[in-house]
Symmetry: C2
Subunit: 227 residues, 2 copies
């Protein structure tokens, strides 16, 4: 688990800022003032710059030479682009599990899916608990597949994907039942080693998420325009 | 072109060290001494630390908390893992081109493939010129597809892939004809919008490269053991 080692100062700063962006407390296109972060958190400028590089790697900010850092924008185009890459890599991950699993190896994954079901259906669960339970499943799969390049790419995409999940859950919590159908359908396809089924289940869910998010963005602009 | 903007000092340091690793002048598992780089290049410690984060992002080094940085190892397992992810993303890239192209849009790509053919068949070409001509084609495709996530992931994998290309060219230059067959076959499949063909061509080439590299690594260890 890459980010569960004792964390460096720059990693702690990155996680603090990352959380503000992911949960929507920092807005798309908002400027991040390096010196303000230095003063607010009482840390060195070098640590803040390292933290900004980590956030750039996680697609949460963009850094412009000699201009500084801004929170990445959320547009229909970049949501579609993100989900296209993410779905492609999830298909790879799930297909590897399908071709590798033997005996009782899938049992912990099924347990985790049951945990996701319970958390999602509990009205008292926080958005964070729901999002985390899904990523725990991904992490379990990554440990089985043991490909450090795939792991790094997916872990770097995770914050950007989280950001879209939070956005979707905030406005359409009722849609969460779709994600349960997704996990259950995906498990069945992996268990059956049904490669075409894996691709279909992941791509359909990805399309569903994209549509939902475009709706949320459109409603957001409508509200902004009306206000 | 992300890395052709006027480069920051840390980017310049990263490119300098990256080049030593990619071309085999720094060996797998070699330790990188932060303070030695500071002294050798007469730069600040902060810039070197930023450069090391960039190199970690490009899979050329690993950074261990409180232990420092070492050049990533080249093992059969990590070469296989790298090519699995790389091939998956190239299939995505080529499939997007196949579904997008219209009219004369493929002409510049065909011109570039002819350039690759010429450079590769010229015995006087440097390994660098051959490797670069291939990545120029990838860059042209990335500009057509215009997916910033895919671009970042592929650009971050590029140095690790380059490193394996240099290793292969140094020991088996005669094998380069395989890569020409690959480019020509891939172009044909993209032109025909033959999605199954795209997958087959890329996966076959990836398997060929893996086998070649495993042979090179095995020969290397044999030499090391004999010496």
């Amino acid at each position: 688990m890459r980010f569960q080692q004792p964390e460096s100062l720059s990693e702690q700063i990155a996680q603090h800022l990352g959380r503000l962006i992911i949960t929507g407390q920092m807005q798309p296109k908002e400027r991040i003032q390096e010196l303000k972060v230095v003063a607010d958190l009482d840390v060195s400028r070098g640590s803040v710059r390292e933290a900004l590089l980590l956030l750039e790697r996680r697609h949460l900010i963009e850094i412009f030479p000699r201009k500084g850092a801004v929170v990445s924008d959320l547009t229909p185009e970049n949501i579609a682009a993100l989900y296209d890459v993410y779905a492609t890599l999830l298909v790879m991950l799930a297909s590897k599990i399908a071709s590798l699993w033997e005996g009782t190896r899938l049992m912990p994954l099924l347990d985790q899916i049951q945990k996701i079901n319970t958390i999602t259906l509990d009205q008292d669960s926080t958005a964070e608990a729901i999002v985390e339970s899904g990523f725990e499943l991904m992490q379990m799969c990554l440990e089985i597949v043991d490909n450090p390049y795939l792991e790094e790419v997916l872990i770097n995409l995770r914050p950007a994907v989280s950001r879209t999940y939070y956005l979707a859950i905030r406005s359409h919590r009722d849609e969460l039942v779709q994600s349960l159908k997704f996990y259950n359908g995906l498990f069945k396809a992996v268990e059956d080693r049904d490669m075409a089924g894996i691709k279909l289940v992941i791509e359909s869910f990805s399309e569903h998420q994209k549509e939902l998010l475009l709706k949320v963005l459109a409603d957001g602009s409508a509200v902004a325009e009306a206000g």
